[in-house]
Symmetry: C2
Subunit: 314 residues, 2 copies
C-alpha cells in the first residue's frame, strides 16, 4: 500500500506518493490564491487523482492522505481556525477534504507536520521527545512526545517564536514586543547583517552585501566563519539570542532531542558547535548526567510531505 | 482503603492519610537536616508507622504512599538526581523508600505534585491540560496533560521560572540573567516594594513597611488596591512582567486552564482581573474562540499531600 503526503503551501501544493517512508513520486501545482475553500478542495481532489494516474496506481492502492497546512487546526471541530496566507477563518476544511476523498484524511499544522517527519524519520528518529526550532522567515516551533504533537486546547500551541525574551524589545507582527522571532529568525540575522555591513564599508560583509543579490543569513555566517570582524559581531549576538531562546525551551521541556531546521541550519557545524556550548552553560539541569542532544534537521524540504504521511500513526 | 500523601519539605515532613480524595488525618515532624539518606528513610518509615497507629488503622489498610520531593527525580533510575535543600546528588531515594515500605511507593517533584492536586481535585478539575505558576519565594512551574506531568528526559522539565524574559537582565541564582523568577516571584514583588517605599517616605507603602514586621507581596498589593500611587506603580510593573511570562507559556502550551498558586495568589481578584486582561492582549490565538482559562489555585497547603496521593493514578 501507498500513502500520500501533501504540503499545502501559500504558493505551491506539493504532493508525494510514499512507500515504506520514502517518497517514490513527487508532483506540484500552483496554489493559485486567492481561492475559495470549495474550489481549493476541488483542485486538490483533481491533483490527487491525476498524480495517482500518472504514477500508475489507483485510489485503492492508497491507504490515507495527510495534509500539512499553514494555519491553526482545531482537531475537535476539524476546522481550519485561522490561515493567514489563505485568508481563511473558521473554515471546515478538513471535513471538506474528508468528504471529497474516499480514503482516510489527516491534517496538521505545516510546521508541526515537518517536525513530525524529523521526529519519526529524521534527526530525532528513535527519541521519545523532541523540540524543534525552524529558523526561516520566522521562527517556527514544535514539541512532540511519544509521537504526539503538542497542539493545545485550540490547535495553536507551539508558537515558540512568540515567546518574549526581551521585555519592551522589538515590535513583532503578533502585537507583542521582544518576541524571540525578532532576534533568531533567518530574517533577523539578515537584517542585522545588512545594517552592520552598511556601517562598515571596508568589511567582507559589505562586499558580500554588494555582490550577492540574495544577501541573507548564509552570507553573514560565511563572512563570520572567514573571520570578518563585522560579521562575527553580528553572528555572535545572533547566537547569544538563539541560545537564550533554546535554553528557555530546554528548561521548560527537557526534550531528549532538540532539532534545528530552516535556512540557518544549513550553516552546519558553524552553527551547531558554538550553539551547543552556549546552551549547555544556560540550562537548568547542569548537575544532571542526561541532557538534551542538539542536532540539525536532516530531511530538508521533503519533511513537509513525509510528515504529512506520518499523521495518524501514533 | 486509604492512601498516604507525604510532603517532604526541607523543614518539615507533612503526612496525610487520604480517603476518597480527602485528608482524614494529618501529622508532621521536623525533617532535621542535615541527615544522611539512610537515616531519613528510617525516620520516614517510623513516622508512617506511628501515624497509621495513631489514626487507628494498619498497614494493610493502605493502598499506596506518594511523596512530593523538592528536587529532580529521574523516573527511569528512581534516583533523586538533585535536591538542593537536602544536599543530595544522585541518591537512589525512591528505591530506598520502596525497599523500606511494604506497599507501592510513588514520588514526584514537589511543585509538580502540588500542581497534580490542582489538576485532579482543584482549580483545573475536569480539564484535559493545565499549566501552573506558583508565585512564592521563587517561581514554580508545571504542565500536566491527560494526567501526565511533563518531566522531560531527566525529570527536570517545568522550570518555568528559569525562562529568560529580559536578555542581560537581573542575575539569577541559576546562573542566567533575566529569568522570569527574578521579576514575578513573591520575593521579587517584596524587593521592588521595599525599594519603592524607601524612596517615597510619604507613601502608604512606606507606612506599611515600617509597621509590618513581615512586609511582603501582600502589603504591596493591599497598598496598591487602596490607591497608594507608589504601590500601584510597583504592582503594575509586576503585573506587566507576570503577564508576559504567562502569555509566553500560553503561546507555547495553549493549556485548557492556567492555574496561579503560591502566596501572591491570595490577592484574589486584585490579581486575577487585571492579569486576565493583560494576558488576553498578548496571546497568539487572539483570532480563536477557545482560549486558556486563568484561575486561582484552590487547595492551598493541602495540595502537596493531596497531589502525592494522586501519583500513579494516570
Amino acid at each position: 500500500m501507498y500513502k500520500i503526503g501533501i504540503d499545502l503551501g501559500g504558493t505551491n501544493i506539493a504532493l508525494g506518493i510514499i512507500r515504506d517512508d520514502r517518497i517514490v513520486f513527487k508532483n506540484s501545482i500552483p496554489t493559485g490564491l486567492p481561492k475559495a475553500p470549495k474550489r481549493l478542495v476541488g483542485d486538490i481532489k483533481d491533483f490527487v487523482e491525476n498524480s495517482i494516474l500518472e504514477f500508475g496506481i489507483t485510489i485503492n492502492d492508497i491507504e490515507k492522505i495527510g495534509f500539512g497546512i499553514p494555519g491553526s487546526i482545531n482537531e475537535k471541530t476539524s476546522h481550519l481556525e485561522f490561515a493567514n496566507n489563505f485568508g481563511y477563518i473558521h473554515v471546515p476544511l478538513i471535513k471538506m477534504l474528508r468528504d471529497a476523498m474516499n480514503i482516510p484524511v489527516f491534517a496538521g499544522n505545516d510546521a508541526n507536520v515537518a517536525a513530525l517527519a524529523e521526529y519519526a524519520l529524521g534527526a530525532a528518529k528513535g527519541a521519545d521527545s523532541m523540540a524543534m526550532f525552524t529558523l526561516g522567515t520566522g521562527l517556527g516551533g514544535a514539541y512532540i512526545s511519544q509521537g504526539k504533537i503538542l497542539s493545545g486546547v485550540n490547535g495553536a500551541a507551539g508558537e515558540f517564536g512568540h515567546e518574549v525574551i526581551v521585555v519592551d524589545g522589538e515590535a513583532c507582527s503578533c502585537g507583542r514586543r521582544g518576541c524571540s522571532e525578532m532576534y533568531v529568525s533567518a530574517t533577523a540575522l539578515k537584517i542585522s547583517g545588512k545594517e552592520a555591513a552598511k556601517s562598515n564599508i571596508n568589511s567582507l560583509l559589505y562586499k558580500k552585501l554588494k555582490e550577492e543579490k540574495n544577501f541573507g543569513a548564509k552570507e553573514v555566517i560565511e563572512a563570520a566563519v572567514k573571520g570578518d570582524l563585522t560579521a562575527k559581531l553580528v553572528y555572535e549576538k545572533y547566537l547569544k539570542y538563539l541560545s537564550v531562546a533554546m535554553a528557555n525551551m530546554i528548561n521548560i521541556f527537557q526534550p531528549e532531542v532538540f532539532v534545528i531546521g530552516g535556512g540557518v541550519s544549513h550553516a552546519g557545524d558553524a552553527l551547531l558547535n558554538p550553539l551547543k556550548e552556549m546552551v549547555r552553560e544556560q540550562v537548568y539541569s547542569r548537575t544532571m548526567d542526561i541532557n538534551t542532544d542538539i542536532r540539525l534537521a536532516m530531511l530538508g524540504n521533503d519533511a513537509g510531505i513525509l510528515g504529512a504521511g506520518k499523521l495518524g500513526e501514533y
